[in-house]
């Protein structure tokens, strides 16, 4: 069994400029990414009949919603038969999985999937109000956290990390290898935000945010948009590259949507999504050539490593000590573009873009030296997670 019967493939990718304070709007960035992806797939905007995005028009401050599907449909004059956006999804690539299902069932043929943010520019313009200036009360999912000063995912995720450290002896020195690996790879990525080398001393001496997280355990807000084209395998006319098959898609969410009631505080929804993904394929973790794993916080990447089966539960600390294993030249390169920690918070889609670049051999100086055919992509953290197993055809 293969996801959507192998009827749907990735045919093109695109990405806008990525940076700090680019001074551009989220729609503008999304259009850059969309046009590049459509051309990369060998298509014309007139071929696009579906659009999918995350998160859609949700209330949010500070450049979190760069562009909605309506914005992009309107700007490009797209004639679509299917469109969707959503935030209640298994990770930021959730609507991309829905797009594949839509193509497989004949609702659309070529779907533009995208994520756009302009958090750096928006926050520089002062749109991120100090929390104390927000007049309203904490409602919805923040009702039971904000009154206690648990203001940020940094706090919520740090508690999970601390529990894992307590149970399994993970150390900050081991955890720090995730941002250090990302920074080493980012030096080879001209679009990365931070490219200067980082030492373990730099990591450990950075100011603390929410213990065990210091500054370099937290990703960097940026401006940028990423687009991926999904196509009907039967309808795609081809291009100069082979299509990328979606071998399996993990959208499993097995527990309550919660930041504090999960039955085992040393796992996250990533474990559910990965379990669901591996059920769909005869491939195993040993078949994966490289992995692009969400690192909005360093610990989320550590969770994906064990959730996807690259080490046993509880053993991510020793895994991280073998830094050569997951370096670009190693057995299982991880976050080859620098991850969100160094290449910017493109909010999930950056990992998908990098996986495709590597599979197509288009990653430039940071191209993995060995031939790569299978990539694992894990996107999301806490109670929201989804993952994809990608395989290059031919």
């Amino acid at each position: 069994m293969t996801f959507v019967d192998d009827k749907v493939v990735i045919t093109g990718i695109g990405q806008s400029a990525v940076g700090r304070k680019l001074g551009r709007g989220g729609v503008d960035l999304a259009i850059d990414a969309a046009l590049e992806a459509i051309a990369h797939a060998g298509l014309d905007p007139a071929d696009i009949d579906g659009v999918a995005s995350y998160p859609g028009p949700v209330p949010a401050e500070g450049g979190f919603v760069g562009a909605t599907t309506h914005d992009v449909r309107d700007a490009l004059g797209l004639r679509t038969t299917w469109a969707i956006s959503g935030v209640e999804t298994p990770g930021q690539a959730g609507t991309l999985m829905d797009a594949a299902a839509a193509i497989a069932t004949g609702r659309a043929t070529h779907v533009l999937c995208f994520r756009s943010v302009f958090e750096s520019t928006a926050q520089a313009a002062g749109r991120a109000k100090a929390l104390t200036q927000v007049a309203s009360r904490a409602a919805g999912h923040t009702e039971f956290r904000m009154p206690f000063g648990a203001a940020s995912p940094a706090n919520w995720i740090a508690m999970y990390a601390q529990r894992y450290m307590h149970e399994f002896g993970l150390t900050r020195e081991q955890l720090g290898q995730i941002p250090i690996n990302g920074r080493r790879n980012a030096a080879l990525n001209p679009k990365a935000i931070y490219r200067d080398p980082m030492s373990l001393d730099d990591y450990l001496s950075a100011r603390l945010i929410s213990y065990p997280f210091g500054l370099y355990d937290c990703d960097v807000p940026c401006d940028g948009a990423t687009a991926v084209i999904l196509s009907s395998r039967a309808a795609w006319g081809g291009s100069d590259h082979a299509p990328i098959a979606i071998e399996a898609a993990g959208s499993g969410l097995y527990e309550r949507h919660t930041w504090d009631q999960r039955s085992d505080l040393t796992t996250m929804a990533a474990h559910d999504a990965a379990h669901h993904m591996w059920q769909q394929t005869s491939l195993t973790p040993a078949d994966v050539d490289f992995a692009e794993l969400y690192d909005g916080f360093s610990y989320l990447c550590a969770q994906w490593i064990e959730a996807l089966g690259f080490c046993k539960h509880g053993e991510v600390g020793p895994f991280l000590e073998d830094t050569e294993h997951y370096a670009i030249g190693g057995e299982l390169p991880i976050n080859t573009h620098g991850g969100q920690l160094s290449a910017g918070r493109l909010h999930g889609y950056g990992f998908l873009h990098e996986a495709c670049l590597q599979l197509w051999g288009e990653a430039g100086e940071r191209q993995i030296r060995k031939d790569v055919e299978v990539a694992a992509v894990g996107i999301g953290g806490g109670p929201e997670a989804g993952c994809l197993l990608l395989r290059r055809d031919g």
Partner: protein, 142 residues
């Protein structure tokens, strides 16, 4: 640790009213299922385990154990709620699978530990009584 001058208060709902007002009577009120007798949180009108609608708030002892915590160092709220302070997930003595995210108070931030026994204390702000936790009387950190 000192108490903050300011907290963002919750938007109290019909489901959460008992939780946020229990402190007026010195009670920590947690939803309990009358069919399977288990507690759960946050409050909502059905038991997620057995799907019984026979649920409602009940006073618990207010004693709990620290299951996870973080020392927050970032001034999310500026001077009004100055760091460092400890945010924790605590497990209720009555049902350790039922946890609250809370703040640990009246304790040096460096003394908080996983496994520490704590007890509820209420801070009154406007129409809500915020249930924070302090080291339990007789515990090593009190």
């Amino acid at each position: 640790m000192t108490r903050p001058a300011y907290r963002i208060l919750p938007e109290v709902t019909a489901d959460s009213a008992a939780f946020w007002a229990g402190g007026a009577d010195g009670e920590l009120r947690i939803y309990r299922c009358r069919s399977c007798s288990r507690y759960f949180h946050p409050p909502v009108g059905v038991c997620f385990r057995c799907r019984s609608r026979e649920v409602g708030p009940e006073a618990v002892s207010g004693r709990a154990t620290v299951a996870a915590y973080t020392v927050n160092h970032h001034p999310w709220f500026g001077e009004a709620f100055p760091p460092p302070y400890v945010v924790a997930i605590v497990e209720l003595d009555e049902d350790p699978d039922t946890r609250l995210t809370t703040q640990i108070v009246d304790c040096a931030v460096e003394d908080v530990r996983i496994g520490m026994e704590v007890e509820v204390d209420f801070e009154h702000h406007d129409d809500v009584w915020v249930p924070v936790f302090r080291p339990a009387e007789g515990s090593s950190a009190s």
